[in-house]
């Protein structure tokens, strides 16, 4: 950028927008200002937060346990059972809110594991380059190419005990490659910048340079990546659960759908059994992706429209 362009940028941090609105505050508050005005972000966030609140508070709203039998079978939604009952007499609402909990837990845990591995591999490969990069890229490509679902199915089939944490770990261990690739690419371009050279000249060690110089410049990108990993983990978990390969002792939305299909809920017209979990997954994952697009616009001034 020329000096004049820097000067104009300094005066007008969002030049590129065609319709000026009221004068925004400067600095960090600027991001918040735009965040609060971005429709996609607000809609996505609202949807996800609503389900999150339901997941946290829901179990207190019901006395029934998700696996508890004994209720009237196949009942449509009523005052006693807000989402009706299953074919074997379980409370659907209870199953739903506990299922939401598992989804969020798996999403967070699986997303975290994948994010940590992705960052470790991506940063190391992008910053060090050379042999380290070649080895890590090879590893990334191998894991990327492995048909994740097939591997998960096989592993899950062999495991005798299937818990929520194990499921989250498995998902985390197989969904990191695209994140590693993306982070590596960004790190490459940042590592050649002069301020990184200056940090090295100031005695900073490798990991310090990555954590203190490179990562802060990618913070919005890392955040977006985490959200995508979070959503992806929820979706993968739902798929596994639907196939019956999820944790057997914990209620999950996928398990609900699995049981519903096996019990021919569709043919019997028991919509209250399979529609909520399906809708729930779709809404949460869809909401996360919409949030992501909105956040991208907030972080990147060039994408902003009004």
């Amino acid at each position: 950028m020329t000096t004049t362009e820097h000067a104009i940028e300094a005066l007008d941090p969002q030049h590129g927008v065609t319709t000026p609105v009221a004068t925004p505050p400067r600095g960090r508050n600027e991001t918040l200002y735009f965040a609060l005005r971005n429709r996609k972000l607000l809609i996505g966030l609202t949807v996800v937060t609503a389900f999150l609140v339901l997941a946290i508070v829901g179990p207190w709203l019901t006395d029934a346990e998700p696996f508890e039998f004994g209720f009237p079978t196949g009942e449509p939604p009523s005052r006693a059972h807000w989402l009706g009952t299953t074919a074997s007499g379980q409370d659907v609402f209870s199953q739903f809110v506990y299922g939401l909990r598992s989804s969020f837990i798996v999403g967070a845990l699986g997303g975290c594991v994948a994010a940590l591995i992705g960052m470790a591999v991506g940063f190391a490969a992008g910053y060090r380059g050379g042999v380290v990069d070649e080895l890590l890229s090879m590893l990334t490509n191998v894991v990327l190419v492995i048909p994740t679902l097939a591997v998960l199915i096989i592993v899950a089939a062999y495991l005798t005990v299937r818990g929520l944490v194990a499921e989250a770990l498995l998902i985390g261990l197989t969904s990191w490659p695209w994140a590693a690739r993306a982070i590596r690419a960004q790190t490459f371009s940042l590592a050649s910048r002069d301020f990184v050279s200056l940090a090295r000249l100031s005695g900073s060690r490798g990991w310090q340079v990555i954590v203190r110089e490179i990562a802060p410049n990618m913070s919005s990108y890392l955040f977006l990546t985490f959200i995508l990993l979070f959503g992806g983990a929820i979706l993968t978990a739902a798929t596994l659960d639907f196939l019956g390969l999820g944790p057997s002792n914990t209620m999950s939305l996928g398990l609900m759908m699995n049981t519903a299909v096996i019990s021919s809920a569709l043919q019997l017209g028991m919509w209250w059994w399979f529609v909520p979990p399906g809708l729930g997954i779709t809404a949460i994952v869809g909401g996360l992706y919409v949030m992501n697009v909105g956040l991208d616009e907030v972080f990147n001034p060039k994408l902003r429209r009004t």
């Binding site: 950028m1 000096t3 820097h6 940028e9 300094a10 910048r193 002069d194 301020f195 050279s197 200056l198 940090a199 090295r200 000249l201 100031s202 005695g203 900073s204 110089e213 802060p216 410049n217 913070s219």
Partner: protein, 297 residues
């Protein structure tokens, strides 16, 4: 004394590193305390690579770089940090040298964390002020600001102040003023002259011959990674022996005279029919002047 002895840098490109590109080839010279050495070269000459090798930002492929006799080409860890107390660098783009997420003062913080963490807060503040004043800056104008709030000239001076915080003996200045405005360039250039008087040895990397003429004691002309002429600045500028140096000097736009008509037909970079005498060794013309020309003509 900072010495480069037959230093070369080769890059391997292509699948499995089949092809080799020699960016720097058998470069030998030294920088003495209080001496300004200009390394003059056009784009692609390898001058920035030489600077980066001295700063240990790029490894040397062959040859040795020594500081007071000790080989620094293979340093790592604590020894490398020790090297950096004596040898520092400033780069071309002032805005790129600062991490945009943080304030400009952070460049001092990095130094503090690694070297001066034992100083008390007031000792540290005094040191920062003293360093800024030493480069002609008002501490009140520069501290607590983001890089985009400062001018290019101020940013470069802050970087020099940072280098001075340690026991600076040699400074690699890579095109440090080419992105500054004409009226501030000379101030930063004079600052280098100041440093020279204080005994700091400076490697002044530039493509601009007028700047080299103004500030340097010794001049090296680098072409395609090889030194084709070197010597005292007056000798090299006054009696250029190598064809490339002569071509460069006639192309420089002066404010005192116009280009001689017809002297050296316009040559665009990458073309020309200069004989490939880059392999010729440097011949001693006088005690202070060497050129890579083939024998006497």
């Amino acid at each position: 004394m900072l010495t480069l002895d037959t230093v070369s840098k080769t890059y391997r490109v292509g699948t499995f590193g089949g092809k080799a590109i020699e960016a720097v080839s058998h470069v030998t010279f030294d920088v003495r305390p209080g001496e300004v050495v200009s390394l003059i070269g056009e784009s692609g000459s390898g001058k920035t690579t030489v600077g980066r090798m001295i700063l240990r930002l790029t490894p040397v492929t062959s040859g040795a770089i020594t500081l007071d006799g000790k080989d620094v080409s293979g340093l790592g860890g604590g020894a490398l940090r020790g090297y950096y107390t004596h040898v520092q660098g400033v780069f071309q783009d002032p805005f790129s040298s600062y991490n945009p997420v943080f304030k400009a003062d952070r460049v001092f913080e990095l130094v503090r964390r690694a070297y001066l963490s034992n100083l008390s807060k007031s000792e540290w503040d005094d040191k920062v002020r003293a360093s800024l004043e030493a480069v002609g800056l008002e501490p009140g104008d520069c501290l607590g600001k983001y890089p985009h709030q400062l001018s290019g000239g101020q940013l470069q001076r802050i970087l020099i102040a940072r280098a001075l915080m340690l026991e600076l003996r040699y400074l690699v200045a890579d095109e440090i003023i080419s992105m500054l405005d004409a009226s501030t360039r000379i101030d930063v250039l004079n600052l280098l002259g100041d440093l020279k008087e204080r005994g700091v040895g400076i490697l002044f990397i530039t493509h601009d011959l007028s700047l080299g003429n103004y500030i340097s004691d010794t001049t090296l002309i680098l072409r395609r990674g090889r030194i084709v002429e070197m010597g005292a600045t007056e000798e090299v500028y006054g009696k250029p022996a190598h064809q490339y140096t002569q071509m460069l000097l006639t192309s420089v736009p002066h404010l005192t005279e116009r280009w001689a008509p017809g002297a050296h037909a316009p040559v665009m970079a990458g073309e020309g029919t200069e004989a490939e005498d880059g392999d010729a060794p440097l011949i001693r013309l006088t005690d202070d002047h060497f050129a890579a020309i083939r024998g006497e003509t």
